[in-house]
């Protein structure tokens, strides 16, 4: 009995030594702030270097947000952005992954090149695309005009109907390589015998893809889908650099709205509430993601 208790205590001490630093860091840098923000979201707090007016308003901020046209707009901006970028990233990534699994000269080089958009800092890729789209001397205008596709230069990021999709294209360029590399890695685990067998059975290209390839890469493809969705729901950096949420709030995502309310409009309470709503959406996807990882692991 005593020996058992001693052993247990030794185990606890050992766990504290190994896990202590990590748990401390995560409590201070993640867990604590999360709870704190949840608390703030129930107050009318304002923020200007320090927090003020911490009076309790219950669910007041959440009620205000639910009826706020600003939030609804930011929600649909985010939804459109996620739907557009993630869908194209998946399709382009799948296509590029399948291509790279083929034999052709320069294949290894092309694989290496795919790392470039992924490795470039997000803000640098955002700046690059902003220069490409520039209304006065941008290369996209020059290209389209010299090809005779447009008559005069346009302001791609200044058009409320186009801006979000223009940013979306920049995001797709940066992130489809990840999907492609995940697909490629998955393709390399498909046993060649299965293809040979399907070939002998007289299955055509399309049928072989449906019966052999697709079932094998479905798991990793789902992982990539959820991964990209979580990332895109939080979108901030690329929008901040390319349009700051404009023109006329047409690119103001939920995270942009949190920034605006919390750090420029002295509305820390409602800003915190919106950030908590984003967090809940993310948590829903994270649960799916962890389930997928577990299934992949087994």
């Amino acid at each position: 009995m005593t020996a058992g208790v001693l052993l247990l205590r030794r185990d606890a001490g050992r766990a504290a030594f190994y896990l202590g630093p990590t748990i401390l860091i995560l409590a201070v840098a993640v867990g604590g702030p999360l709870v704190f923000t949840l608390g703030i979201s129930f107050t009318s707090a304002s923020f200007l270097g320090t927090l003020k007016d911490l009076s309790f308003v219950g669910l007041g901020n959440y009620v205000e947000i639910a009826g706020s046209p600003q939030f609804q707009r930011a929600f649909f901006v985010t939804l459109k952005f996620v739907a557009f970028t993630v869908a194209v990233e998946m399709l382009l990534g799948l296509g590029a992954g399948l291509l790279l699994a083929e034999q052709f000269p320069g294949r290894t080089l092309l694989r290496v090149l795919l790392v470039i958009p992924w490795a470039i800092p997000t803000v640098v890729s955002a700046i690059t695309w902003r220069l490409i789209y520039a209304p006065d001397f941008g290369v996209l205008n020059a290209l389209l005009q010299q090809l005779g596709l447009i008559d005069e230069y346009r302001s791609w990021l200044g058009d409320p109907l186009l801006a979000l999709y223009a940013i979306g294209i920049a995001d797709i360029w940066k992130n489809f390589p990840i999907v492609a590399l995940i697909v490629l890695a998955a393709l390399q685990t498909v046993p060649q015998e299965l293809y040979d067998a399907a070939y002998v059975d007289g299955a055509g290209v399309f049928h072989r893809f449906k019966a052999v390839t697709f079932p094998h890469i479905l798991g990793p493809l789902m992982v990539a889908l959820v991964l990209r969705t979580i990332d895109t729901v939080k979108v901030f950096d690329i929008i901040w650099v390319m349009t700051r949420g404009g023109p006329f709030s047409s690119t103001k995502s939920m995270s942009m709205l949190v920034y605006e309310r919390t750090f420029s409009n002295l509305e820390a309470g409602s800003g915190s509430a919106i950030s908590f709503i984003i967090t809940l959406i993310c948590i829903a996807f994270i649960v799916v993601y962890v389930r997928l990882l577990r299934r992949q692991g087994s």
């Binding site: 050992r14 840098a29 092309l110 470039i116 979580i230 993310c282 948590i283 994270i286 993601y289 992949q296």
Partner: protein
């Protein structure tokens, strides 16, 4: 026919991937006249490398260039954050790797890592402000531990799982404790995973923008991502200078990306690096 389709697609893909980067590089060495000519000349008449010099050399009054300071700050934050993260994550990963309930802890790490930064920013600002660590690269490095530690724990755990348990027992016979086995046996054997984790962490810290935007506001602390975006606030006055800054900021992470090439996917599955 099939071959023609494959080759055409390959060329198309290479063009999509390379065109924006090549354009950035061309802009950075084009003379101002070439950039602002309509219709555009696709290749500059002459190579103008002066912007790289201007970015990195002191201003007229002899002060270090703000961009060079930003590079230094990013280096401090990246190296400092990575070193601290590896120490904490190494201990945790070793414990998890050798215990029965490791999987749940790893999933908690993945989940922690994927939470949005927007929800943590305000309280962290208040904490940094209270401890005098606002506008301080060390403070920023400490904040980055919040995502570097969970991410590297995941990678290191996989690395330590690859160290055979029989070697633990052999170490014990030689009189090593659990910590001794970690230092003498596991770390040397898992050094490839440790290097991968370190490179990922450096890349993530170099890329980070949101926290850096909020927690640094002067040249002594701004990191390279914030410094570059400063160039582009409002109307961009000198395309070439912005492009040159972008190229300089992109070179270290792209080099790291090439080094990571082989281990990319295992790392990406842990949570997709950017966010």
């Amino acid at each position: 026919m099939r071959r023609a389709i494959i080759l055409t697609s390959a060329i198309l893909l290479a063009t999509i991937v390379l065109a924006p980067v090549v354009w950035l590089a061309i802009l950075s060495v084009s003379s101002t006249t070439d950039i602002y000519t309509v219709p555009l000349h696709w290749l500059p008449a002459e190579f103008d490398l002066s912007r790289y010099g201007r970015l990195l050399s002191p201003d007229q009054s002899g002060h270090t260039s703000p961009f060079l300071l930003a590079l230094r700050n990013s280096l401090i934050v990246g190296v400092g954050g990575t070193a601290l993260a590896l120490m904490a994550a190494g201990l945790a990963a070793w414990h998890i790797s050798r215990s029965h309930k490791g999987e749940g802890f790893v999933h908690a790490m993945v989940a922690t890592y994927m939470l949005p930064q927007t929800v943590m920013a305000l309280p962290i600002y208040v904490m940094l402000s209270a401890t005098g660590l606002l506008n301080n690269p060390v403070g920023l490095a400490l904040v980055y531990l919040g995502f570097l530690v969970p991410f590297t724990t995941w990678l290191l755990k996989t690395g330590f799982d690859g160290v055979p348990r029989e070697l633990d027992d052999a170490g014990r016979v030689d009189g090593l404790g659990r910590f001794g086995v970690l230092i003498r046996i596991a770390i040397p054997l898992a050094r490839a995973s440790i290097a991968t984790a370190a490179l990922f962490a450096l890349l993530m810290a170099w890329d980070e923008f949101f926290y850096a935007l909020l927690f640094t506001s002067n040249a002594a602390a701004k990191t390279v991502t914030v410094a570059i975006v400063d160039f582009t606030s409002g109307r961009i006055s000198d395309y070439g200078l912005v492009a040159a800054a972008g190229v300089v900021a992109a070179v270290p992470p792209v080099a790291i990306g090439f080094l990571l090439q082989k281990n990319l996917i295992s790392g990406l599955m842990a949570g997709g690096v950017k966010g």
